[in-house]
Protein backbone atom coordinates (compact mmCIF):
# COMPACT_ATOMS: atom_id res chain seq x y z
CA UNK A 1 0.00 0.00 0.00
CA UNK A 2 2.83 2.39 1.01
CA UNK A 3 0.90 5.60 1.48
CA UNK A 4 2.95 8.38 3.03
CA UNK A 5 1.37 10.89 5.42
CA UNK A 6 1.27 14.11 3.49
CA UNK A 7 3.51 16.91 4.62
CA UNK A 8 2.29 20.43 4.30
CA UNK A 9 4.24 23.37 3.06
CA UNK A 10 5.94 24.78 6.17
CA UNK A 11 5.06 28.40 6.87
CA UNK A 12 7.83 30.99 6.90
CA UNK A 13 9.49 31.14 10.31
CA UNK A 14 8.93 34.89 10.83
CA UNK A 15 5.20 34.46 10.28
CA UNK A 16 4.89 31.12 12.00
CA UNK A 17 6.36 32.34 15.30
CA UNK A 18 4.11 35.39 15.66
CA UNK A 19 0.51 34.65 16.59
CA UNK A 20 -2.25 36.29 14.59
CA UNK A 21 -5.10 37.90 16.47
CA UNK A 22 -8.36 35.94 16.42
CA UNK A 23 -11.75 36.53 18.03
CA UNK A 24 -14.16 33.99 19.43
CA UNK A 25 -17.25 33.93 17.24
CA UNK A 26 -19.00 31.25 19.25
CA UNK A 27 -18.27 28.68 21.91
CA UNK A 28 -20.17 25.47 22.51
CA UNK A 29 -19.93 23.16 25.47
CA UNK A 30 -19.38 19.58 24.25
CA UNK A 31 -18.96 17.72 27.56
CA UNK A 32 -18.42 18.73 31.17
CA UNK A 33 -14.76 19.60 30.42
CA UNK A 34 -14.59 20.09 26.63
CA UNK A 35 -15.59 23.06 24.51
CA UNK A 36 -15.61 23.83 20.81
CA UNK A 37 -14.47 27.30 19.81
CA UNK A 38 -15.27 28.88 16.46
CA UNK A 39 -12.57 31.53 16.05
CA UNK A 40 -12.17 34.03 13.20
CA UNK A 41 -9.23 36.21 12.17
CA UNK A 42 -9.39 39.80 13.39
CA UNK A 43 -7.41 41.28 10.50
CA UNK A 44 -8.20 39.00 7.58
CA UNK A 45 -11.26 37.68 5.82
CA UNK A 46 -10.11 34.08 5.64
CA UNK A 47 -8.03 31.70 7.72
CA UNK A 48 -4.99 29.98 6.21
CA UNK A 49 -5.94 26.72 4.50
CA UNK A 50 -5.43 23.56 6.56
CA UNK A 51 -5.51 19.84 5.96
CA UNK A 52 -7.26 17.26 8.19
CA UNK A 53 -5.06 16.28 11.12
CA UNK A 54 -3.09 19.53 11.33
CA UNK A 55 -2.96 21.69 14.45
CA UNK A 56 -2.56 25.29 15.49
CA UNK A 57 -0.61 26.77 18.37
CA UNK A 58 -3.33 28.59 20.26
CA UNK A 59 -2.35 31.35 22.65
CA UNK A 60 -4.42 32.29 25.69
CA UNK A 61 -3.02 35.76 26.26
CA UNK A 62 -1.30 36.14 29.59
CA UNK A 63 -1.55 32.44 30.25
CA UNK A 64 0.23 30.31 27.69
CA UNK A 65 0.24 28.66 24.30
CA UNK A 66 -0.88 25.12 23.54
CA UNK A 67 -1.07 22.92 20.43
CA UNK A 68 -4.70 22.23 19.52
CA UNK A 69 -5.89 20.12 16.60
CA UNK A 70 -8.23 21.73 14.13
CA UNK A 71 -11.62 20.02 14.34
CA UNK A 72 -13.60 21.96 11.73
CA UNK A 73 -14.32 21.51 8.05
CA UNK A 74 -11.25 22.08 5.84
CA UNK A 75 -13.54 23.48 3.13
CA UNK A 76 -14.63 26.32 5.42
CA UNK A 77 -12.02 29.08 5.21
CA UNK A 78 -13.85 31.62 7.36
CA UNK A 79 -13.02 30.05 10.69
CA UNK A 80 -10.83 27.73 12.67
CA UNK A 81 -12.74 25.31 14.86
CA UNK A 82 -10.91 23.95 17.89
CA UNK A 83 -12.28 21.42 20.35
CA UNK A 84 -10.44 21.91 23.62
CA UNK A 85 -10.44 19.95 26.83
CA UNK A 86 -9.74 21.98 29.95
CA UNK A 87 -6.86 20.14 31.58
CA UNK A 88 -4.30 22.87 32.39
CA UNK A 89 -4.00 26.61 32.86
CA UNK A 90 -3.94 27.58 29.16
CA UNK A 91 -6.69 25.20 28.04
CA UNK A 92 -8.86 26.22 31.01
CA UNK A 93 -8.36 29.89 30.07
CA UNK A 94 -9.28 29.13 26.44
CA UNK A 95 -12.39 27.24 27.50
CA UNK A 96 -13.35 30.21 29.67
CA UNK A 97 -13.32 32.69 26.77
CA UNK A 98 -16.56 34.43 25.88
CA UNK A 99 -17.92 35.62 22.53
CA UNK A 100 -15.61 38.27 21.04
CA UNK A 101 -12.81 37.27 23.42
CA UNK A 102 -9.37 37.44 21.81
CA UNK A 103 -6.71 34.80 21.41
CA UNK A 104 -3.61 34.24 19.32
CA UNK A 105 -3.28 31.60 16.63
CA UNK A 106 -0.17 30.31 14.85
CA UNK A 107 -0.42 27.69 12.19
CA UNK A 108 -1.56 25.41 10.76
CA UNK A 109 1.33 23.06 11.39
CA UNK A 110 2.27 19.46 10.85
CA UNK A 111 1.44 16.52 8.61
CA UNK A 112 -2.07 15.36 7.92
CA UNK A 113 -4.23 12.29 7.37
CA UNK A 114 -3.77 10.67 3.96
CA UNK A 115 -7.30 11.41 2.82
CA UNK A 116 -6.57 11.85 -0.90
CA UNK A 117 -4.23 8.84 -0.97
CA UNK A 118 -6.96 6.65 0.50
CA UNK A 119 -9.15 6.96 -2.61
CA UNK A 120 -10.25 3.52 -3.75
CA UNK A 121 -9.67 1.97 -0.33
CA UNK A 122 -11.88 1.21 2.62
CA UNK A 123 -11.20 3.70 5.41
CA UNK A 124 -11.41 2.80 9.08
CA UNK A 125 -11.34 5.73 11.49
CA UNK A 126 -10.66 4.76 15.10
CA UNK A 127 -11.00 7.49 17.72
CA UNK A 128 -10.64 7.45 21.48
CA UNK A 129 -11.94 10.25 23.70
CA UNK A 130 -11.03 13.70 22.44
CA UNK A 131 -9.11 11.97 19.63
CA UNK A 132 -12.27 12.31 17.56
CA UNK A 133 -11.58 16.05 17.21
CA UNK A 134 -8.52 15.81 14.88
CA UNK A 135 -10.28 13.06 12.91
CA UNK A 136 -13.46 15.03 12.27
CA UNK A 137 -11.92 17.12 9.45
CA UNK A 138 -10.87 13.86 7.77
CA UNK A 139 -14.46 12.60 8.03
CA UNK A 140 -15.75 15.82 6.50
CA UNK A 141 -13.38 15.38 3.58
CA UNK A 142 -14.17 11.68 3.15
CA UNK A 143 -17.91 12.33 3.17
CA UNK A 144 -17.62 15.34 0.86
CA UNK A 145 -16.22 13.01 -1.81
CA UNK A 146 -17.90 9.83 -0.66
CA UNK A 147 -17.83 8.15 -4.07
CA UNK A 148 -14.01 8.08 -4.10
CA UNK A 149 -13.82 5.58 -1.23
CA UNK A 150 -14.92 2.07 -0.44
CA UNK A 151 -16.48 1.41 2.93
CA UNK A 152 -16.02 4.09 5.58
CA UNK A 153 -16.16 2.96 9.19
CA UNK A 154 -15.99 5.14 12.29
CA UNK A 155 -15.21 3.38 15.57
CA UNK A 156 -15.37 5.67 18.59
CA UNK A 157 -14.69 4.88 22.23
CA UNK A 158 -15.13 7.16 25.23
CA UNK A 159 -15.21 6.84 28.98
CA UNK A 160 -18.92 7.38 29.64
CA UNK A 161 -21.99 8.37 27.57
CA UNK A 162 -21.60 11.92 28.91
CA UNK A 163 -18.13 12.17 27.35
CA UNK A 164 -19.28 11.60 23.76
CA UNK A 165 -18.11 14.44 21.51
CA UNK A 166 -20.21 15.80 18.66
CA UNK A 167 -23.28 13.64 19.50
CA UNK A 168 -25.54 15.38 16.96
CA UNK A 169 -23.11 14.74 14.13
CA UNK A 170 -22.58 11.15 15.21
CA UNK A 171 -26.35 10.62 15.03
CA UNK A 172 -26.48 12.18 11.56
CA UNK A 173 -23.56 10.09 10.35
CA UNK A 174 -25.10 6.94 11.79
CA UNK A 175 -28.30 7.66 9.89
CA UNK A 176 -26.41 7.68 6.60
CA UNK A 177 -26.49 4.46 4.63
CA UNK A 178 -22.93 4.80 3.38
CA UNK A 179 -21.12 5.18 6.69
CA UNK A 180 -20.79 2.58 9.44
CA UNK A 181 -20.61 4.20 12.90
CA UNK A 182 -20.03 2.32 16.14
CA UNK A 183 -19.77 4.02 19.51
CA UNK A 184 -18.79 2.30 22.72
CA UNK A 185 -18.22 3.50 26.28
CA UNK A 186 -15.97 2.09 28.97
CA UNK A 187 -18.59 2.32 31.68
CA UNK A 188 -22.28 3.03 31.89
CA UNK A 189 -25.34 2.71 34.05
CA UNK A 190 -28.27 0.61 32.90
CA UNK A 191 -30.06 3.53 31.23
CA UNK A 192 -27.43 3.47 28.43
CA UNK A 193 -28.74 1.37 25.56
CA UNK A 194 -25.53 1.38 23.53
CA UNK A 195 -22.36 -0.66 23.65
CA UNK A 196 -20.11 -1.02 26.69
CA UNK A 197 -16.53 -2.14 26.15
CA UNK A 198 -13.25 -0.79 24.88
CA UNK A 199 -12.98 0.57 21.35
CA UNK A 200 -10.54 -2.17 20.29
CA UNK A 201 -13.33 -4.76 20.56
CA UNK A 202 -15.18 -3.01 17.72
CA UNK A 203 -12.43 -3.70 15.19
CA UNK A 204 -13.24 -7.42 15.06
CA UNK A 205 -16.84 -6.64 14.15
CA UNK A 206 -16.46 -3.80 11.68
CA UNK A 207 -17.07 -4.50 8.01
CA UNK A 208 -14.06 -3.72 5.82
CA UNK A 209 -11.61 -5.43 3.50
CA UNK A 210 -8.38 -5.60 5.53
CA UNK A 211 -6.21 -5.99 2.44
CA UNK A 212 -7.52 -2.75 0.99
CA UNK A 213 -7.92 -0.57 4.07
CA UNK A 214 -6.40 2.61 5.36
CA UNK A 215 -6.80 3.05 9.12
CA UNK A 216 -6.59 6.45 10.80
CA UNK A 217 -6.19 6.22 14.56
CA UNK A 218 -6.15 8.93 17.22
CA UNK A 219 -6.48 8.61 20.98
CA UNK A 220 -4.43 7.88 24.08
CA UNK A 221 -1.21 6.10 23.17
CA UNK A 222 -2.10 2.86 24.98
CA UNK A 223 -5.41 2.75 23.12
CA UNK A 224 -3.53 3.22 19.84
CA UNK A 225 -1.11 0.39 20.68
CA UNK A 226 -3.94 -2.07 21.25
CA UNK A 227 -5.86 -0.74 18.27
CA UNK A 228 -2.80 -1.34 16.12
CA UNK A 229 -2.58 -4.96 17.36
CA UNK A 230 -6.23 -5.57 16.47
CA UNK A 231 -5.88 -3.96 13.04
CA UNK A 232 -2.79 -6.01 12.24
CA UNK A 233 -4.45 -9.21 13.48
CA UNK A 234 -7.44 -8.47 11.19
CA UNK A 235 -4.94 -8.36 8.33
CA UNK A 236 -4.60 -4.62 7.74
CA UNK A 237 -1.08 -4.10 6.37
CA UNK A 238 1.26 -2.13 8.63
CA UNK A 239 1.74 0.53 5.98
CA UNK A 240 -2.01 1.12 5.90
CA UNK A 241 -2.14 2.30 9.52
CA UNK A 242 -1.72 5.98 10.43
CA UNK A 243 -1.40 7.29 13.96
CA UNK A 244 -1.58 10.79 15.41
CA UNK A 245 1.10 11.23 18.06
CA UNK A 246 1.19 13.78 20.83
CA UNK A 247 4.11 15.27 22.76
CA UNK A 248 4.94 18.56 24.40
CA UNK A 249 4.96 20.85 21.37
CA UNK A 250 6.19 24.42 21.86
CA UNK A 251 7.51 26.17 18.75
CA UNK A 252 5.47 24.25 16.18
CA UNK A 253 8.16 24.47 13.53
CA UNK A 254 10.83 21.98 14.62
CA UNK A 255 13.22 24.49 16.17
CA UNK A 256 12.97 24.04 19.92
CA UNK A 257 13.17 20.25 20.11
CA UNK A 258 10.56 19.84 22.86
CA UNK A 259 8.53 17.37 20.84
CA UNK A 260 11.40 15.24 19.60
CA UNK A 261 10.21 11.71 18.95
CA UNK A 262 13.09 9.44 18.02
CA UNK A 263 14.68 10.98 14.93
CA UNK A 264 11.64 13.17 14.21
CA UNK A 265 9.86 16.20 15.62
CA UNK A 266 6.17 15.66 16.09
CA UNK A 267 5.28 19.29 15.32
CA UNK A 268 7.04 19.17 11.96
CA UNK A 269 7.17 15.51 10.88
CA UNK A 270 3.93 14.56 12.65
CA UNK A 271 1.55 14.59 14.32
CA UNK A 272 0.21 12.10 11.75
CA UNK A 273 2.69 9.32 10.99
CA UNK A 274 2.44 6.16 8.96
CA UNK A 275 2.96 3.41 11.54
CA UNK A 276 5.86 2.03 9.50
CA UNK A 277 7.77 5.27 10.01
CA UNK A 278 7.63 5.07 13.81
CA UNK A 279 7.41 1.31 14.31
CA UNK A 280 10.81 1.12 16.00
CA UNK A 281 9.94 3.83 18.54
CA UNK A 282 6.17 3.45 18.90
CA UNK A 283 6.16 1.02 21.82
CA UNK A 284 9.53 2.10 23.23
CA UNK A 285 9.43 3.55 26.72
CA UNK A 286 10.63 7.07 27.53
CA UNK A 287 10.57 8.27 23.94
Amino acid sequence: MAIAAEKSQPPLHGESLAPALYRVHSIRRETHDSFTLDVRPQNALNTPAFAPGQFNMVYAYGCGEVPISISGDPADHRRFVHTIRAVGAATTALCGLKKNGTLGVRGPFGSHWPVDESAGSDVVVVAGGIGLAPLRPALYRLLAERQRYGRIVLLYGVRTPGDILFPRELKQWRAQFDLEVHVTVDRATSDWQGRVGVVTTLIRKATFDPNNTVAMVCGPEVMMRFTLLELLSRGVPADGVFLSMERNMKCGVGLCGHCQYGPTFICKDGPVYPYTRIASTFATREI
Binding site: H32, D33, R85, V87, G128, G129, I130, G157, V158, R159, T160, G162, D163, D186, R187, A188, T189, S190, W192, Q193, G194, R195, V196, G197, V198, T200, T201, K205, G219, P220, V222, M223, F226
Partner: protein, 153 residues
Protein backbone atom coordinates in the same frame (compact mmCIF):
# COMPACT_ATOMS: atom_id res chain seq x y z
CA UNK B 1 -31.12 -29.61 14.10
CA UNK B 2 -29.69 -29.24 10.60
CA UNK B 3 -29.99 -25.48 10.90
CA UNK B 4 -28.34 -25.37 14.30
CA UNK B 5 -25.47 -27.48 13.01
CA UNK B 6 -24.94 -25.16 10.06
CA UNK B 7 -25.08 -22.02 12.18
CA UNK B 8 -22.66 -23.41 14.73
CA UNK B 9 -20.29 -24.80 12.08
CA UNK B 10 -20.07 -21.36 10.46
CA UNK B 11 -19.49 -19.52 13.73
CA UNK B 12 -15.87 -18.32 14.18
CA UNK B 13 -15.82 -19.72 17.71
CA UNK B 14 -16.28 -23.27 16.44
CA UNK B 15 -14.54 -22.84 13.10
CA UNK B 16 -12.33 -25.78 12.20
CA UNK B 17 -13.80 -28.14 14.79
CA UNK B 18 -13.82 -31.82 13.73
CA UNK B 19 -17.25 -32.91 12.51
CA UNK B 20 -17.80 -35.56 15.24
CA UNK B 21 -17.04 -32.92 17.88
CA UNK B 22 -19.37 -30.46 16.23
CA UNK B 23 -22.12 -33.07 16.27
CA UNK B 24 -21.55 -33.65 19.98
CA UNK B 25 -21.88 -29.92 20.62
CA UNK B 26 -24.99 -29.57 18.46
CA UNK B 27 -26.57 -32.28 20.63
CA UNK B 28 -26.41 -29.85 23.57
CA UNK B 29 -27.77 -26.83 21.65
CA UNK B 30 -31.18 -25.18 21.58
CA UNK B 31 -32.52 -21.98 20.07
CA UNK B 32 -33.58 -19.36 22.61
CA UNK B 33 -35.06 -15.87 22.45
CA UNK B 34 -35.14 -13.05 24.99
CA UNK B 35 -37.34 -9.97 24.98
CA UNK B 36 -35.92 -6.56 25.88
CA UNK B 37 -35.43 -6.37 29.65
CA UNK B 38 -35.55 -10.13 30.12
CA UNK B 39 -32.68 -11.63 32.13
CA UNK B 40 -30.61 -14.44 30.66
CA UNK B 41 -29.18 -15.20 34.08
CA UNK B 42 -28.66 -13.71 37.53
CA UNK B 43 -25.61 -13.52 39.75
CA UNK B 44 -25.37 -16.56 42.05
CA UNK B 45 -27.63 -18.81 39.98
CA UNK B 46 -26.38 -22.08 38.60
CA UNK B 47 -24.37 -21.50 35.41
CA UNK B 48 -25.90 -24.27 33.37
CA UNK B 49 -25.29 -22.95 29.84
CA UNK B 50 -23.49 -20.54 27.59
CA UNK B 51 -24.82 -18.56 24.68
CA UNK B 52 -23.86 -17.88 21.10
CA UNK B 53 -25.57 -14.55 20.40
CA UNK B 54 -27.10 -14.59 16.93
CA UNK B 55 -28.88 -11.22 16.90
CA UNK B 56 -29.47 -8.59 19.55
CA UNK B 57 -27.63 -7.11 22.47
CA UNK B 58 -27.12 -8.24 26.05
CA UNK B 59 -25.61 -6.27 28.89
CA UNK B 60 -23.54 -7.94 31.56
CA UNK B 61 -24.06 -6.04 34.78
CA UNK B 62 -23.30 -6.01 38.44
CA UNK B 63 -25.68 -4.64 41.02
CA UNK B 64 -23.99 -2.31 43.47
CA UNK B 65 -25.84 -1.06 46.56
CA UNK B 66 -26.48 2.66 46.34
CA UNK B 67 -25.56 2.87 42.65
CA UNK B 68 -27.83 0.27 41.13
CA UNK B 69 -26.83 -1.94 38.22
CA UNK B 70 -23.54 -1.01 36.54
CA UNK B 71 -22.98 -2.30 33.03
CA UNK B 72 -19.60 -4.01 32.76
CA UNK B 73 -19.84 -4.98 29.12
CA UNK B 74 -22.28 -5.55 26.32
CA UNK B 75 -22.24 -8.47 23.90
CA UNK B 76 -24.00 -8.60 20.58
CA UNK B 77 -24.18 -10.38 17.23
CA UNK B 78 -21.68 -13.20 17.01
CA UNK B 79 -20.40 -12.93 20.58
CA UNK B 80 -20.05 -15.74 23.09
CA UNK B 81 -21.63 -15.12 26.48
CA UNK B 82 -20.68 -17.05 29.63
CA UNK B 83 -17.90 -19.35 30.71
CA UNK B 84 -18.97 -20.05 34.30
CA UNK B 85 -20.54 -23.33 33.10
CA UNK B 86 -17.00 -24.58 32.49
CA UNK B 87 -15.46 -23.91 35.90
CA UNK B 88 -16.63 -25.12 39.32
CA UNK B 89 -18.68 -24.13 41.25
CA UNK B 90 -20.68 -23.37 38.05
CA UNK B 91 -22.30 -20.17 39.27
CA UNK B 92 -22.89 -16.92 37.42
CA UNK B 93 -20.86 -14.02 38.78
CA UNK B 94 -22.87 -11.30 37.03
CA UNK B 95 -26.36 -10.59 35.74
CA UNK B 96 -27.09 -10.64 32.02
CA UNK B 97 -30.08 -8.77 30.60
CA UNK B 98 -31.30 -8.42 27.04
CA UNK B 99 -31.16 -4.78 25.92
CA UNK B 100 -33.16 -5.53 22.79
CA UNK B 101 -34.83 -8.56 21.26
CA UNK B 102 -32.08 -11.17 21.33
CA UNK B 103 -31.91 -14.51 19.61
CA UNK B 104 -29.22 -16.93 20.65
CA UNK B 105 -28.18 -20.54 20.70
CA UNK B 106 -27.94 -21.89 24.24
CA UNK B 107 -25.45 -24.69 24.89
CA UNK B 108 -26.26 -26.89 27.88
CA UNK B 109 -23.30 -26.74 30.26
CA UNK B 110 -23.81 -30.06 32.04
CA UNK B 111 -24.37 -31.85 28.74
CA UNK B 112 -21.14 -30.36 27.37
CA UNK B 113 -19.11 -31.06 30.51
CA UNK B 114 -20.17 -34.68 30.43
CA UNK B 115 -19.14 -35.01 26.79
CA UNK B 116 -15.85 -33.22 27.45
CA UNK B 117 -15.07 -35.62 30.29
CA UNK B 118 -15.75 -38.58 28.02
CA UNK B 119 -13.81 -37.16 25.10
CA UNK B 120 -10.78 -35.18 26.26
CA UNK B 121 -9.95 -34.08 22.71
CA UNK B 122 -13.29 -32.27 22.66
CA UNK B 123 -12.59 -30.92 26.16
CA UNK B 124 -9.20 -29.57 25.08
CA UNK B 125 -10.73 -27.92 22.00
CA UNK B 126 -13.37 -26.24 24.13
CA UNK B 127 -10.82 -25.07 26.69
CA UNK B 128 -8.56 -23.61 23.99
CA UNK B 129 -11.44 -21.71 22.44
CA UNK B 130 -12.75 -20.41 25.75
CA UNK B 131 -9.23 -19.45 26.84
CA UNK B 132 -9.04 -17.20 23.79
CA UNK B 133 -12.35 -15.57 24.69
CA UNK B 134 -11.11 -15.11 28.27
CA UNK B 135 -7.87 -13.54 27.04
CA UNK B 136 -9.76 -11.07 24.86
CA UNK B 137 -12.08 -10.16 27.72
CA UNK B 138 -9.17 -9.81 30.14
CA UNK B 139 -7.29 -7.50 27.74
CA UNK B 140 -10.41 -5.42 27.31
CA UNK B 141 -11.02 -5.29 31.06
CA UNK B 142 -7.44 -4.20 31.71
CA UNK B 143 -7.83 -1.38 29.21
CA UNK B 144 -11.09 -0.37 30.88
CA UNK B 145 -9.36 -0.35 34.27
CA UNK B 146 -6.66 1.99 32.92
CA UNK B 147 -9.34 4.64 32.51
CA UNK B 148 -7.52 5.74 29.37
CA UNK B 149 -9.56 8.80 28.63
CA UNK B 150 -9.16 10.01 32.22
CA UNK B 151 -9.84 13.41 33.74
CA UNK B 152 -13.54 12.86 33.71
CA UNK B 153 -16.24 13.08 36.30
Amino acid sequence: METLERILAEHPFLHGLARPHLELIVGCATNVRFNPGQFLFHEGEEADRFYVIRHGKVRVELFTPGRGPITIQTVDDGDILGWSWLLAPYQWHFDAQAVELTRAIALDGECLRTKCERDHDLGYEMLKRFAQIMQQRMDATRLQLLDLYGNSR
